[in-house]
């Protein structure tokens, strides 16, 4: 195989602010053969995206390509001038960005943007380019390929937008396509559709590609070879099969290890019969309430759950399923339209204003994104000191001592107290975010996607910490996540949310053995496994869309529209009953007994 792309001794530097330069890509060399898919894998800050972008002669912000060479066939990319680079980009090398929602211009139609590269490079007339775009839409199994191009980006779903972006990259038949974490922002059930579409197109068109990802399981499906990166350096470079089965380097071994499942459940300490938190028949949403007390746009419908003291309830669902709304209701940030929220058997007031300080203290929330939840200009001691003085009225001295203890709890050094939040790494920020909640001495911590923004290894350490804190302090968690494997590893009980309804509830062990609710089944089977060929073998089925989907507030099954196991004449006419499965979990489905 001839090496089509040869990168040798590549260096990229970024200015540090005090005049020095920081090397973010350090002496990286690799090659890609024609028709081959190479994956660049690593955690955030490993330089994988930076390396991929140098193949287009591009460096973000004030970064600078400071040495080495990038050859594309006969072309030395790094020696090109501005005009040469413009000619290269979009024509010979094209790019599929991580977040299609951000990478599409919101004020221009999709077709306009998909065909743009072909028109800029004068490779086709507008009519020809549009015809080709429609073919690509069809190849990528997009719905309504003839007309989808007339829409604006906000009018199509995230998964569709990501496939449209692939069409945008392929319109010029480039020699190399760079996929930069193209499915990271998607739900698992959407990710699998997109991966299947990408895989098919790559195979059929014999595309040479660089696939950037942090997710080994995804990469295992897509790549022929893998380049493992850490801190801008090449750690290991080999065939996919070798990297997955026989990783040579210890760092690669830790990456592979972080993916494999780990149980963190601890035995329950039942010291009281009364559950810590109980929710009965909860309805919540936005807009005015009608006569029956239903809001204009209900987000959560008929949710009931209990969290025994010291246990962890996992809430699983895709984006938009109402997971965060549930946390907000418990925290008092959203009003309850119907139903009850009981803390230790006593009803919790539904508005913030009517809750007591003590009630605030007992329930703490940890937000998903520590970057935005912590004020970057505040010192760690300020962030942690605030709940200590507010809830416990500690004096300065006592406060300082307690901060050291709390930092120790989350395994951070005491010196951290003097640092500003903006200076911390992602994992450290999330620990401070958690420490802030712990400072109140809560009984229930609402964890809203606390590991989603973190790398696998860092996220896995946070999960370990959560499990340990539970054992030491006896706190309970409501652990919200879209990622079924994190929920499985940490939680005692689970609740699967779909469009604001609890479609399955049960103990976590029921997730190990079928049968499941069809939606839970789809969720479980959509999680990529660390095994080549999984994508081809996956039993993921796409059911034809119904013409009249059950809308929000309809009594019919919310999953009806996507359900592969729906029963014609039953599911589309009768509301689903709540019944139990033989493994003990309770589901909202006609398939229950």
């Amino acid at each position: 195989m001839t090496n089509h792309i040869v990168v040798s001794n590549l260096n990229v530097t970024a200015p540090t602010g005090d005049g020095d330069e920081l090397t973010i890509v350090d002496d990286v060399s690799f090659s890609v053969g024609a028709g081959e898919v190479l994956a660049l894998i690593g955690e955030s800050g490993s330089g994988k995206t930076t390396i991929a972008l140098t193949l287009m002669g591009y460096a973000r912000g004030s970064c600078r390509i400071s040495g080495g060479s990038v050859r594309l066939g006969e072309l030395d990319v790094l020696k090109l001038g501005q005009a040469g680079l413009r000619d290269l980009r979009g024509r010979r090398v094209s790019y599929v960005a991580q977040s299609a929602a951000a990478a599409f211009n919101p004020s221009r139609t999709i077709m306009n943007q998909v065909t743009e590269a072909a028109l800029i490079h004068k490779m086709a007339t507008r009519a020809d380019a549009e015809k080709r775009a429609v073919e690509l839409f069809r190849d990528l199994s997009l719905p309504n390929p003839e007309t989808i191009g007339n829409r604006y980006p906000h009018q199509v779903s995230g998964g569709q937008l990501q496939r449209l972006m692939a069409a945008m990259a392929l319109i010029t038949d480039p020699e190399l396509v760079i996929f930069d974490e193209p499915t990271t922002a998607l739900d698992v059930t959407t990710q699998i559709d997109v991966l299947q579409a990408f895989k098919r197109v790559i195979k059929e068109r014999d595309i040479t590609a660089i696939y950037v990802s942090h997710d080994l399981a995804v990469v295992a499906q897509m790549a022929d070879r893998i380049l493992v990166l850490n801190h801008g350096k090449v750690i290991e470079f080999g065939e996919t099969e070798q990297i997955l089965q026989r990783p040579a380097d210890s760092y690669t071994q830790s990456l592979v290890g972080a993916v494999s499942r780990k149980q963190r459940q601890t035995p329950l300490q039942h010291d009281s019969e009364l559950p810590l938190l109980e929710i009965r028949g909860l309805v919540a949403g936005y807009g005015r309430l009608d006569k029956q007390g239903m809001p204009d746009s209900p987000i959560l419908q008929d949710i009931s759950l209990t969290i025994p003291r010291g246990s962890t309830l996992g809430i699983i669902g895709e984006s938009g399923s109402g997971k965060s709304t549930l946390a907000r209701v418990v925290a008092g940030l959203m009003p309850v339209a119907k139903g009850e929220v009981l803390l230790d058997g006593e009803p919790l007031p539904t508005t913030l204003a009517s809750r007591s300080k003590e009630q605030f203290r007992r329930i703490q929330i940890v937000f998903q994104n520590a970057d935005t939840a912590l004020n970057p200009t505040h010192k760690v001691s300020q962030v942690l000191g605030r709940p200590l003085t507010f809830y416990h009225g500690l004096s300065d001295d006592a406060c300082r001592r307690r901060i050291v203890q709390i930092l120790d709890l989350v395994k951070l050094p005491a010196e951290m107290a003097g640092r500003r939040c903006g200076e911390l790494s992602g994992g450290q920020k999330q620990r401070i975010n958690l420490a802030r909640a712990l400072a109140a001495d809560p009984e229930l911590i609402l964890c809203d996607e606390v590991t989603s923004a973190l790398d696998t290894v860092v996220g896995s350490a946070i999960l370990d910490l959560l499990a340990e804190l539970r054992q030491e302090l006896g706190v309970s968690y409501m652990f919200i996540s879209h990622d079924i494997s994190t929920v499985r590893s940490l939680c005692d009980d689970i609740l699967v949310l779909y469009e604001g309804r609890a479609v399955e509830t049960g103990s976590c062990s029921t997730l190990e053995t079928p049968p499941f609710h069809p939606y839970t089944d789809m969720l479980i089977s959509s999680v990529p496994e660390l095994e080549q060929g999984w994508l081809e073998r996956s039993r993921h089925k796409v059911s034809p869309q119904l013409t009249t989907p059950a809308g929000m507030g309809s009594p019919l099954c919310p999953f009806l529209n996507r359900c592969p196991e729906r029963i014609a004449g039953v599911c589309d006419s009768l509301p689903p009953p709540r019944g139990s499965l033989k493994n003990g979990s309770e589901i909202l489905c006609h398939h229950s007994k």
Binding site: S94, A102, N105, P106, S107, R108, E116, I120
Partner: protein, 316 residues
């Protein structure tokens, strides 16, 4: 389309409601001014009887809310009353002066807006370059100098010392192009000085804001040239904030003409308003104030409509 019309109708409704509130505020504030037109007309030595008689004939003796309702009704049918100072219908006075002010403001806008937007977009395009810094510095200097100083210095240099243009700025109807230019050059340049900085800086910021968006990087990686990236990709998304910046500057233009009209002795509506304050000529003052408010609300409404139409999320 229905949706967009509804949105615009709602904004227009809000604007009308605000205008009603403003009318009440204007009316009550203007009645707080010390002295009244009768006192002003008759002077300090007037007898109380003469004052009372004049007040009655002018309708000033009626309670405030009655005068307000009468005035509001008059406004609605286009008859804002009679000027107390010179006994002419306010409508007539305004009809004579308003078009002149509009001509002045219009020319100033016509000159300033395109130049300001071009400068703003250019400095965003070459953000951080020497061009950007020079433009930034110059426009800041221009806005930092008060307009009366600019006007006075301009008159001193171009009208008095060099004699190139007339210091009195009024071109009678039917004036030649030369006369027209000579009359308007100085006031327009003065207003340009005031306006250009804010608009240029705001449009620079709006475009720069868009240039850091991922879709701009995407356009660059498709091989689009810099002008294409800025004009075709970033600019359409910056129209909302730019339209707002322009509307705010234009509304300033209405207020800014007061000083300029006075210094250049230009017979526009702003100098009419200044006279009406001096004369305690309430009907005239109130009408002028209402015109300024209405113009301001109209500008903001137009900016809102621009923002709505340029945004497909609101449009469709």
């Amino acid at each position: 389309m229905m949706h967009i019309m509804q949105l615009i109708a709602r904004r227009a409704g809000t604007a009308l409601f605000i205008l009603l509130l403003v009318s009440a505020v204007v009316f009550s504030l203007s009645s707080l001014l010390p002295g009244d037109a009768a006192q002003q007309l008759l002077g300090q030595s007037a007898t109380p009887e003469a004052l009372a008689a004049l007040r009655e004939s002018l309708g000033l003796d009626k309670p405030g809310y009655v005068r307000y309702v009468t005035w509001l009704k008059g406004l609605l049918i286009g008859d804002p009353g009679v000027s107390l100072a010179n006994n002419m219908p306010v409508a007539e006075l305004v009809a004579e002066r308003l078009p002149r002010s509009l001509v002045l403001a219009g020319i100033a806008a016509l000159v300033s807006v395109p130049i300001a937007l071009t400068l703003g977009i250019l400095s965003a395009m070459y953000g951080g370059s020497r061009l950007d810094r020079v433009l930034n510095f110059t426009t800041l200097c221009m806005v930092a100098i008060p307009e009366f100083l600019v006007a006075t210095v301009l008159v001193l240099i171009f009208a008095v010392k060099l004699g190139w243009v007339s210091s009195l700025s009024y071109a009678p109807p039917g004036a030649s192009l030369g006369q027209f230019l000579s009359a308007y050059a100085l006031p327009v340049v003065t207003l340009f000085f005031v306006l250009v900085a804010q608009m240029a800086r705001m449009s620079r910021a709006a475009v720069l804001d868009q240039l850091s968006e991922p879709y701009v990087e995407m356009a660059v990686l498709k091989g689009a040239s810099l002008p294409r990236v800025v004009l075709r990709h970033a600019l359409p998304n910056a129209i909302g904030p730019i339209a707002n910046a322009v509307a705010l500057s234009m509304s300033y233009l209405l207020g800014g003409v007061v000083i300029v009209e006075v210094i250049f002795n230009y017979p526009g509506i702003a100098s009419l308003m200044v006279d009406s304050v001096a004369n305690r000529d309430m009907p005239l003052l109130q009408t002028c104030a209402m015109i300024f408010c209405a113009a301001y609300l109209l500008l903001v409404l137009i900016a809102d409509v621009c923002a709505i139409v340029s945004n497909p999320k609101l449009r469709t």
